[in-house]
C-alpha cells in the first residue's frame, strides 16, 4: 500500500515540476497574444495595455505563477485569452474525445498485439514469425504522420471509411442507436492509424519477452510434464512475460498521446490536438500550458495504473521499488 502512496506523492511532485518548467519556458517567449492586435490601427495601445493588465501578463514571472497555481487549485488552470473563459472546461470538452480515441486504440492495441506476440514467439523462425517481425520493423520506421496521411488518402479515395470530424451533419436528428453507430463509423479511421503504429512497437516487446521466458528451466519442466502448448503459453509463460510488457504501458501511452494529437489534426477529430495546435498558432499561453499539464496528467495516471498492475502481479515489486524503476528505465531505452 505504501508503494502506491509513494507513487502518488511522486506523481504530484512531477506535475508540480512540469508546471514550473512550463512557466520557465514562457519567460523565453518574445511575442504575445496581443502582437497581432498591435498591428491593427483600430485598437488603441491603451486597450491593449488594459487587456494585458486584465490577464496579468504585465506581472513578473513569480506573481503570474502564483496566480496560475491558485487558479489551478480552484480547478480553472488559468484563463484562455482567445476564448476569454477558464481553461479547464475548454480542455475537458475536447479531452473527452481524445480519451475516447486513445483508450479505444490502447485496448485494441493490447488485444491484438499480445496474442500476436505470443504466437510469433511460440513459432519462432516460422513464416508467420518472420512476417510479423518484418512488418513491425517496417511500421516502426514509418513516421506516424506518413501513416496517417497515407491511410487517409486511401480512405478518402475509395470512400470506404468515414472521414472528417467525429459526427455527421445530421447527428442531432438521429436516434440513440444511430448516434452511436455514427460516432463509431467516424472512429474507425483514426483508431486504425493509431493501432497500426502502436501494435508494431508492442508486438516486438511481447515477442522478445515471451521468447526470453520460454528459455527458463521451469518451462522446460512444464513441457516435460506434458502440459499442452496453448496452456503452457497462456497459463505459465504469459503471466511472467507480461511483467516487462506492462511496464511498457506508460511508455506506450506517451506514444499514443503524441500520435493521437497528430491523427486528430489530420483526420479532423475534435480532440485536444486541434485545440492545442490552434492555441499554439494564436499564442494562447494558458491554454497551451493547460494542454501540456493535461497530457502530463494522462501520462502520470497511465504510469500509476501500470505500477498498480505490476505490484498486483509481481510480489517482488512491492518490496523493492528500486528494482521496478531499474526495469522501467531499461525498457524505456
Amino acid at each position: 500500500m505504501s508503494f502506491i502512496v509513494r507513487r502518488l506523492a511522486r506523481s504530484a511532485l512531477l506535475l508540480f515540476g512540469v508546471s514550473i518548467l512550463c512557466f520557465l519556458f514562457t519567460e523565453m517567449a518574445p511575442g504575445s497574444f496581443f502582437d497581432e492586435m498591435r498591428l491593427n490601427p483600430q485598437i488603441s495601445p491603451e486597450t491593449i495595455a488594459n487587456l494585458r493588465t486584465h490577464y496579468g501578463l504585465d506581472q513578473p514571472l513569480v506573481v503570474r505563477y502564483e496566480r496560475w497555481l491558485k487558479s489551478a487549485l480552484r480547478g480553472d488552470l488559468g484563463i484562455s485569452i482567445a476564448y476569454n473563459s477558464p481553461v479547464t472546461p475548454l480542455l475537458w470538452s475536447r479531452a473527452k474525445n481524445t480519451l475516447l480515441l486513445t483508450t479505444t486504440a490502447l485496448l485494441l492495441t493490447w488485444i491484438i498485439s499480445v496474442p500476436l506476440g505470443v504466437w510469433a514467439a511460440s513459432r519462432r523462425g516460422g513464416l508467420l514469425d518472420r512476417l510479423i517481425t518484418l512488418a513491425s520493423a517496417f511500421l516502426i520506421s514509418v513516421p506516424e504522420l506518413v501513416l496517417a496521411v497515407a491511410l487517409l488518402a486511401v480512405a478518402v479515395r475509395w470512400g470506404i471509411l468515414r472521414t472528417g470530424g467525429m459526427i455527421s451533419a445530421d447527428f442531432e436528428s438521429l436516434s440513440m442507436w444511430a448516434k452511436l453507430q455514427d460516432v463509431i463509423s467516424h472512429l474507425v479511421l483514426p483508431v486504425c492509424i493509431l493501432v497500426l503504429a502502436e501494435t508494431a512497437v508492442i508486438v516486438r516487446h511481447v515477442r522478445a519477452s515471451v521468447l526470453e521466458t520460454l528459455q527458463s528451466p521451469y518451462v522446460q519442466a512444464a513441457r516435460g510434464f506434458g502440459i499442452s502448448r496453448t496452456r503452457l503459453l497462456f497459463r505459465h509463460v504469459l503471466p511472467v512475460a507480461a511483467n516487462p510488457a506492462i511496464s511498457l504501458l506508460g511508455f506506450s501511452l506517451a506514444g499514443l498521446l503524441s500520435g493521437s494529437l497528430m491523427v486528430e489534426v489530420v483526420c479532423g477529430w475534435p480532440g485536444l490536438g486541434p485545440l492545442i495546435l490552434e492555441a499554439t498558432l494564436s499564442r494562447d499561453l494558458y491554454l497551451v500550458i493547460g494542454g501540456i499539464m493535461l497530457s502530463a496528467l494522462f501520462m502520470v495516471m497511465g504510469n500509476l495504473v501500470a505500477d498498480m498492475l505490476l505490484s498486483a502481479l509481481d510480489p517482488r515489486i512491492r518490496g523493492n521499488e528500486d528494482k521496478a524503476e531499474a526495469e522501467q528505465g531499461l525498457h524505456a531505452a
Binding site: 512531477l14 512540469v18 523565453m28 511575442g31 520506421s141 514509418v142 506514444g255 494529437l261 501520462m299
Partner: protein, 346 residues
C-alpha cells in the same frame, strides 16, 4: 593467416544506399532539373511526366518526353494531355537554371533536363506549377539537416549531462535525474508544440532552422542522458578505472581515456535511432505550419497541402515527399537495428 570476417552484402547495400541518399540531397542543385521556388502558372498540378522510349518511328535508345497541354473539361480538376506533335529527348549534363553547389560554387550544370518549352516533372508539379522532384531534393536538405543537427544537439547535451550525473553521483545525480524524469513524463508532441508556442512564429528560414533544431534537441536530451549515466555508473567502478585512479589519474583523464569510449556504442545506436525520429519531428512541425515557411521547401510543408481532401484525392503524386521520408526512415531504422544487435552481442 586469419581470414577477415566478411561484411554481409546487406550491410554493404545499406551503407551504399545511405551514402547515396545523403549525397543526392547534398548535391540537390545538380540532381534537380529546376529551381525549387520557380513557378509555372501554366502547369499547376501537372501529373508526373511520362518517360517514353517508343514512338511512331520505333524504339529510341535516348528516352524522350512529350509536353503537357492543358485540356480543361471539368471545372475543378486540372486535366492534361500529352502533346504528341513533338518529342523532347532527355539530355544529360545540360545547362539549366544557375545555382550554387553546396552553397559555394556557382554553376548551371544539371544531371538531366529537356529543352524548353517542355518540362520534365518526374514527380509531377504542385499547385504553383513547381517541380515536385526538385522540391523533394531541396526540401530533403532542410529536413534531413534538421534531423542531423537536432540529434547532434540532443546527444551532446545528453552525453555531457549524463556523464556529469553518473560521475559526480550524490545530489548532482539525483537532481539531474529528477529533471530528466520531468522531460520524459511529457508526450513529446505536446511538449514540442508547447515549447514552439512560446517562440516567434514567422522568422527567416535560417533562424527557423536553428530554432527548430534547438527546440527538438532541447526536448530530446533526457533519454540519452539517462542511458549515458547508466553506462558511466557501471564504468566508474570497473577495476581498471579504479586502478588508474589509484595511480593518480586525474578526473579528466579518467573520463577521456576510460569512461567516454564506453559510451560510443550506445551513442551510435542512439544517433541512428534519433535521426529519423527528429526528421519526422521537423516534418510534423512544418506540416502543422509551425516550422519552415514557404517558399522554402521542406518535406513537412510540402505535405501540408494534402490537408485539403480535394488535393489528397485528385493529386496523389503530391504524396511523394512522404515516400522520401519513409525511405530515409527505413534506411536509418535498419542501421539502428544493426548497431543495436552489434552492441548487444559485444
Amino acid at each position: 593467416m586469419p581470414r577477415k570476417s566478411a561484411i554481409p552484402a546487406l550491410v554493404v547495400a545499406l551503407v551504399v544506399a545511405l551514402v547515396a541518399l545523403h549525397a543526392v540531397l547534398l548535391f540537390a542543385g545538380f540532381f534537380a532539373p529546376y529551381d525549387p521556388a520557380v513557378q509555372d502558372r501554366d502547369l499547376p498540378y501537372a501529373p508526373p511526366t511520362r518517360v517514353h522510349f517508343i514512338d511512331a518511328s520505333g524504339f529510341h535508345l535516348r528516352p524522350f518526353v512529350y509536353a503537357w497541354t492543358s485540356a480543361v473539361q471539368g471545372d475543378d480538376a486540372e486535366t492534361y494531355k500529352e502533346d504528341r506533335s513533338r518529342s523532347y529527348p532527355i539530355h544529360f549534363f545540360v545547362s539549366g537554371p544557375s545555382y550554387r553547389l553546396i552553397g559555394l560554387f556557382a554553376t548551371d550544370r544539371h544531371l538531366f533536363g529537356v529543352a524548353q518549352p517542355a518540362k520534365i516533372f518526374l514527380f509531377g508539379s504542385d499547385g504553383f506549377g513547381r517541380d515536385e522532384f526538385s522540391r523533394i531534393l531541396f526540401g530533403g536538405q532542410i529536413s534531413v539537416a534538421a534531423g542531423l543537427a537536432a540529434t547532434l544537439i540532443a546527444l551532446l547535451a545528453g552525453t555531457v549531462l549524463g556523464i556529469i550525473a553518473g560521475y559526480c553521483g550524490r545530489w548532482v545525480d539525483e537532481s539531474l535525474m529528477g529533471v530528466t524524469e520531468l522531460f520524459l513524463s511529457l508526450p513529446w508532441l505536446y511538449f514540442l508544440l508547447g515549447v514552439r508556442a512560446f517562440l516567434p512564429l514567422h522568422l527567416s528560414t535560417l533562424r527557423t532552422f536553428f530554432l527548430l533544431t534547438g527546440v527538438i534537441g532541447l526536448i530530446g536530451w533526457a533519454r540519452p542522458a539517462r542511458l549515458v549515466r547508466g553506462i558511466v555508473l557501471s564504468a566508474r567502478n570497473r577495476n581498471y578505472v579504479l586502478a588508474a585512479r589509484g595511480f593518480g589519474g586525474s578526473h579528466l583523464y579518467l573520463l577521456r581515456r576510460h569512461i567516454l569510449p564506453e559510451t560510443f556504442g550506445l551513442l551510435l545506436t542512439q544517433a541512428a535511432l534519433l535521426v529519423p525520429r527528429y526528421i519526422a519531428a521537423e516534418v510534423t512541425l512544418s506540416f502543422f505550419g509551425l516550422g519552415v515557411n514557404e517558399p522554402t521547401p521542406s518535406w513537412g510543408n510540402m505535405l501540408s497541402t494534402l490537408q485539403q481532401y480535394s488535393v489528397l484525392v485528385s493529386y496523389g503524386w503530391l504524396l511523394a515527399p512522404a515516400g522520401a521520408l519513409v525511405v530515409t526512415s527505413v534506411l536509418y531504422g535498419y542501421l539502428a537495428d544493426l548497431f543495436h544487435s552489434r552492441l548487444k552481442s559485444s
